[in-house]
């Protein structure tokens, strides 16, 4: 179930754009540097030239990188806007973070701990808050990360486009249980989700 302008694609496009240019720059700088060191080594070039600068070259290597940097900013900003603009019809799930687990509350008030179950094909909006210190909800497969802060509500959204299991982590350091404060996102069929919602909590 593909979705138009899925933020995952926007984010990945920004990654490829920025990393692509970075590799290009890095390769060029390194290659030129090594070539100069070899070509102008003292044994081969005992008398250096007295070059102190070149205005046009300096203007060029100020202006061109500025334009590229601005293009990178724009691509990053577009991806960010995608991550922040919740589409209409999103289903809201409340998330409570605490040392050291995640509580999810579904629209019918059902609660789960460290397991998030959502139906495929419906955009999911999560609204978070924390019961104690800072935590951060990180869903790598969907490029989503947002802090949970006590006393305020934050949000993020993602589009579960395929059935499957994904992991999420806590990425804001919160103490001894920080690295084990993870859990699983289960994207299930709409029917399975309905059944899940009606199930009694058996834990």
């Amino acid at each position: 179930m593909p979705m138009e302008n899925n933020p995952v694609e926007l984010v990945d496009r920004a990654f490829y754009f920025i990393l692509g240019f970075s590799f290009l720059f890095l390769f060029a700088i390194t290659a030129v540097m090594i070539w100069f060191v070899i070509r102008y080594r003292r044994s081969r070039n005992p008398v250096p030239s007295d070059v102190r600068g070149n205005v046009w070259l300096e203007i060029a290597w100020t202006v061109i990188p500025t334009l590229i940097a601005l293009a990178m900013f724009v691509s990053g900003w577009q991806a960010y806007t995608g991550l922040r603009t919740v589409p209409d019809g999103a289903m809201e799930i409340k998330v409570y973070a605490q040392m050291f687990s995640w509580i999810f509350v579904y629209p019918n008030d059902k609660e789960t701990e460290n397991e998030l179950v959502v139906p495929v094909g419906t955009p999911i909006k999560i609204t978070l808050t924390s019961e104690d210190v800072l935590h951060s909800f990180y869903l790598p497969s969907f490029r989503v990360k947002i802090d949970a802060v006590k006393g305020m509500t934050t949000y993020a959204w993602f589009y579960p486009d395929k059935v499957g299991d994904f992991v999420f982590h806590c990425t804001e350091f919160c103490g001894t249980g920080h690295s084990s404060m993870d859990g699983a996102l289960h994207i299930v069929s709409v029917d399975a989700y309905e059944t899940f919602l009606e199930e009694e909590v058996d834990e």
């Binding site: 102008y40 102190r52 500025t66 601005l70 900013f73 947002i146 350091f173 920080h178």
Partner: protein, 544 residues
């Protein structure tokens, strides 16, 4: 050059000798060397702490220690490396030693304040050490984020107070340098005759003076929260944890430029000397230092895209972050262009400087990924960030520090180290560095968060490989430091100008005499004019 007694033989004040002649000295060179030994001590401590961390992470589950020890370990590694090594490293050692010499004077403007800064630095280090024995080491990370840092039972207050004291030391050094540059520059030396290392210290010092008070007050507020329960940052009492992050990064982001600018200054000194060619674009480098100092003070909230602050703030800080990338890029281009049509002599300092350019470029370019809002959301607080800042702070400032050690060692001690060993050390460190941090970019992109004591199976290979990199690096670092130490006894005696440099430190004996200049310094109209060196110089490296 006639033989004159060096500052090692002529204590100042003159009536004391032995250890006391160091502990109460006001000579900027002796103070610089006292910083050298203490800073190296802390560097070695934090380096091994880092090594133990990576050993723990090589295998899943508990390898050496439990999570609480691991949390204390990465906090101490961070606090020591940042506050006791990277921030003071280059300015306090090489700045103290060479800034007065490079501007043709005999000391800093406030010599006693200079000594006092050293004592504050040592006291701050002592306090950091004391946390190990009183109340347990802090376990918050070097960022001391609230509300965690207010609630935890470990000894955060002492650690925070240590950082406060170290901040004072840093601020006083900044005030001293700015005043010295303004008031004590040789009368023939205009602003644009100043060497670039001095320029970089000038820019750094202003940031130290203006930004450090913000963190000092913030750190005191944490102590007030812990003891008095004021509630400034505690949501339960109507406080705001995000406010703390703003205050913390308002200093701590400019602080990364306090860390890197002096390193950039070192590289700008080394390249012309070994290319025997003027630095390319002297003024562009000066202005980019100032631009970094100014623009770098306006980008702090790019550490906070996921914090819950407004989207407008994300827009502004992301845009400003891309602006601050430009002056750094200009410097890199200028350094590479300096080599063009030069007469390049490979030496250990140049080798470290070239490694710096490569590693710092990687650090800078991956910074673009973090500056862009959408991509940062994915990699924020993951190992990608860990790799990124180690490329800039260690591959950048750390390598600049090593380059500076090798560049100025013969001047400071009058002895030359063993070249071949220095190269081997550099190769080990660089190879180990890449093997250590490149896998972290990969596992970071895959989604491994930082400050993780344990991890899921997906990240096993990367962490395992990184451990070997750490081992290579440690071997290289021990070899490098050992080589330098051995040179103090066995090294060849260095000439006053072993490399063929043009700045004033190369016109005086090695090691320098007490008042630096025996005869009136000759200030060049352009600080990197190699005409004279090319006319008179016979040997590539002069030792006797």
């Amino acid at each position: 050059m006639e033989k004159v007694p060096s500052f090692f033989d002529t204590p100042s004040p003159p009536r004391y000798s032995g250890v006391l002649s160091w502990l109460i000295t006001t000579d900027h060179k002796r103070i610089g060397l006292m910083y050298l030994w203490v800073i190296l001590f802390w560097f070695v401590v934090a380096m091994f702490l880092g090594g133990v961390m990576r050993l723990e992470l090589m295998f899943r589950g508990e390898t050496l220690m439990g999570p609480s020890s691991y949390n204390a370990l990465f906090t101490l590694h961070g606090v020591i490396m940042i506050f006791l090594f990277i921030i003071p490293g280059i300015p306090a050692i090489f700045g103290n030693f060479f800034l007065p010499i490079q501007i043709g004077t005999d000391d800093v403007f406030f010599p006693r304040l200079n000594l006092f800064s050293w004592y504050l630095y040592v006291a701050g280090g002592g306090l950091a050490l004391a946390t190990l024995f009183i109340g347990g080491p802090p376990d918050t990370g070097w960022t001391f984020y609230v509300p965690f840092s207010v609630g935890t039972h470990s000894n955060v207050s002492t650690a925070v107070f240590a950082a406060f004291v170290l901040g004072m030391a840093s601020m006083m050094t900044g005030i001293n340098f700015v005043t010295t540059i303004h008031r004590m520059r040789h009368e023939k030396m205009g602003w644009f005759q100043m060497p670039l290392f001095t320029w970089s210290l000038y820019a750094t010092s202003w940031v130290q003076i203006l930004a450090t008070p913000v963190v000092s007050i913030t750190l005191l507020l944490i102590i007030a929260e812990r003891f008095l329960g004021v509630g400034l940052f505690d949501p339960a009492k109507g406080g705001d944890p995000i406010l703390y992050q703003h205050l913390f990064w308002m200093y701590s982001h400019p602080a990364v430029y306090i860390m890197i600018l002096p390193g950039m200054g070192v590289i700008s000194e080394i390249l012309p000397v070994f290319a025997r060619k003027p630095i390319f674009g002297y003024k562009a480098i000066v202005f980019s230092s100032l631009a970094i100092a100014i623009a770098g003070s306006l980008v702090w909230a790019h550490h906070m895209y996921t914090s819950g602050m407004s989207d407008t703030a994300v827009f502004v800080f992301s845009l400003l972050t891309f602006i601050v990338a430009i002056p750094s890029a200009i410097k890199v281009f200028s350094w590479v262009a300096t080599l063009y049509k030069g007469s390049v002599l490979m030496t250990p300092p140049l080798f470290f400087a070239l490694c710096f350019i490569y590693l710092f470029s990687v650090g800078g370019l991956t910074g673009l990924v973090l500056g862009a809002a959408g991509t940062d959301i994915h990699v924020h607080d993951t190992h990608f960030v860990v790799a990124h800042f180690h490329f800039t702070m260690f591959g950048g400032t750390g390598f600049a520090f090593f380059a500076a050690l090798h560049h100025w060692w013969p001047k400071m001690f009058g002895r030359m180290y063993h070249f071949k060993r220095a190269y081997w050390a550099a190769v080990f460190i660089t190879f180990g560095f890449l093997l250590h941090y490149v896998p972290m970019f990969v596992i970071g992109l895959q989604g491994m968060p930082r400050r993780y004591y344990d991890y899921v199976a997906e990240f096993e290979t990367g962490n395992f490989v990184a451990g070997f990199g750490a081992a290579f690096m440690l071997v290289g670092l021990v070899l490098m430091l050992g080589n330098l130490m051995v040179s103090l006894r066995q090294g060849a005696v260095a000439a006053s100008d072993p490399w063929g440099g043009t700045t004033l430190e190369w016109t005086i004996p090695s090691p320098p005499p007490l008042h630096n200049f025996i005869k009136e310094p000759e200030v060049l109209d352009y600080p990197y004019d190699f005409t004279q060196v090319l006319k008179t110089r016979r040997d590539d490296v002069e030792v006797s």
